[in-house]
Symmetry: C2
């Protein structure tokens, strides 16, 4: 059984809903739809893996720790995927995860 109980699934859904119930995190998800358009390239090919944490934090206009936590909440909810490369962490949308959340909300 890779599937949790109903209660666990409910709690997970609640966590995912809380993850997107934030203006800043909605913005992050929106920006990550098109990293090339929304963020500078740190080096050739970076944007394949999404946007550098550094630029997300900067664009959010919050402190680095605050941005880091928003990204952690999105990561824990399975909505973005971090990729470590060189000294940086790049974040991209987890499209299957997002699609699954949308499907579950569709059952409301």
């Amino acid at each position: 059984m890779t599937q949790g109980s109903t209660a666990e699934r409910s709690t997970e859904l609640e966590a995912q809903l809380k993850a997107i119930a934030s203006q800043r995190r909605l913005l992050i998800l929106e920006w990550l739809k098109d990293p090339e358009a929304n963020f500078p390239s740190r080096e050739h090919g970076d944007l394949e893996h999404g946007a550098c944490n550094l630029f997300i934090v900067e664009r959010l206009g919050v402190s680095q720790p605050a941005g880091s936590r928003h990204l952690r909440i999105l990561t824990d909810a399975g909505l973005v995927i971090p990729t470590r490369r060189k000294g940086w962490v790049y974040y991209r949308r987890n499209e299957p995860g997002i699609a699954e959340l949308i499907a579950r909300i569709g059952e409301l």
Copy 2:
């Protein structure tokens, strides 16, 4: 213009997401899919208008004020519709509102 600004719409979306990012409120919406099955009838024909506040509070297992606030949050978010009748308030799902929210989340 009946439509608010983008910022207002975003804030409204955030409020709606926060409204459903709660186990208790998700339960209320679920129960209201079938008031007849989930709640006793207060008098003939009541359930057309949804479930009586009283029974929702009781089934939630929280105090009356706590239940009242949950219902207010759902009402403010446009997800349920209250109907006052005799001494009671009945709540039913606002299906168009829920559908609109689902559609907006689908754009995530």
